[in-house]
Amino acid sequence: MKVSDLDLRTMLSFDPEHGKVCLGEDRMLLFRQDALSVLRRLLNDQLGERLMRAILSQFGYRCGNGDYGTLSKSYDWETELDRMSAGPALHTWEGIVHVEPTFLEYDRDSGHFHMRGIWRNSYEAEIHREIFGLSDEPVCHSLTGYASGWCSAFFGKPLIAIETKCMGKGDERCEFEVRTPNAWGPEADAWKEALEQNDYSLSRELEAKIAVIQEQEMAISELNTPVMEIWDDILVLPIVGVVDTRRSMEIMNNLLESIEQTQSRCVIIDVTGVEVVDTKTADYLLKVMRAANLLGSRCVLTGLSSAIAQTLVEIGADLSEVRTLRNIKEGLKDCLKYLRLESREE
């Protein structure tokens, strides 16, 4: 068979009875391009550009590699060149991209392989531009993956395809080039890396990300809310981060326990490290302060930022029952004064 005889229309068998479309024995699938475009966006948004690229490259690689297996098994090719050229032809027939090889030179004995070609109407460049706009880098990851996969299967040795021009970055058409890994300089590193990432390293990367998040969560919850006795009868409770229901319960418990233990008469609650205080947070803080009051401690709130002060007043949170001071320093002075006055009265 010659490459010019290749006609996917006769090679595909449609089997609606079983809900299958097959190329040889392999099941093929038809997808909507706009759905793939959604998938691409999701991959990018959820996993980041690097992982998206690795996944798409390897997806393409598997397509190219598999297509070669099926075609070389199912058909007798007249020449090696026909066998090789069936890849670009099939890629074109599959509607992925129009491929026009412009140069091919290889020598199995010396392990030399070099191919160049032009891609037109790359579906991948099309959807990428649609979702992300013009890119700085080539974007046809599954296409280069396919070329690497096909050529490697044909040559029997790993080969790397890279994209030298790409519609996705504003070029008039896409162009690709395939060589052995050793023949490539650093310009092909990104493509190599994308293919080298195996399942293991992909999931490891994800796991690492999740682990970092978990660690941070632990750190935050351990960071918790230390209550410090900075003077006789004076406790300081610095609050950092977000105050939600769970957190406010912790804060309240910690604080009340410490008050009971130390029998402190003053508490300074410092919220310099709290970035957002809404009505709910203000409410929690008020509850904590009321509880402390019930135990006989006097509470001072310090470190409200100007933005938070404005928000609180605008949403109408009522902090009038609370003594609010600029910072811990003022809070401490205030508490010392209060304690002295009290002891003098006694």
């Binding site: 100007s306 002060a309 007043v313 605008e314 600029r326 010392l336 004064k337």
Partner: protein
């Protein structure tokens, strides 16, 4: 020309003297600027001087009230100085509690009130600290 209301620091206090017609935009801007300055500068009092203001409606009055509350959140007390009599009558007749701010006759009066309080609190503070230092030395 874009007009803004200057905020001046005098010793322990911020002074804001309103000399121009108050538009809503100006009021909102003033609120923000005062909030920022109160936080940024080491002050304990704020005087809003309004002798040149011959008009306050409920929105502006409420905004002044909010400014005082915001300042209070950051430990700064506010005095409204030099309220025009016609404006005062109007506010009272509109409905009780329109302003609810501490007021002073004029700027001088307001500064006196604030500085007196600050001096009192400072001397109290010094006494307490002296006592504490003495105790620390003993132990």
């Amino acid at each position: 020309m874009r007009r803004t209301i200057p905020i001046i620091k005098l010793r322990q206090n911020l002074i804001v003297s309103i000399q121009i017609e108050m538009t809503d935009r100006l009021v909102a801007e003033l609120k923000e600027n005062i909030a920022f300055e109160v936080r940024a500068r080491e002050v304990s009092g704020l005087v809003i001087e309004v002798s040149a203001v011959d008009f306050l409606d409920s929105y502006i009055a409420r905004s002044l009230q909010q400014i005082a509350k915001i300042a209070a959140c950051m430990g700064v007390e506010t005095i409204l100085a030099g309220l025009d009599s016609a404006v005062a009558i109007t506010l009272v007749e509109m409905g009780a509690d329109m302003l609810g701010l501490e007021t002073a006759l004029d700027l001088e009066d307001a500064i006196d009130i604030l500085e007196e309080r600050q001096a009192e609190s400072r001397s109290e503070e010094e006494r307490v600290l002296a006592e504490i230092y003495a105790e620390l030395e003993e132990s």
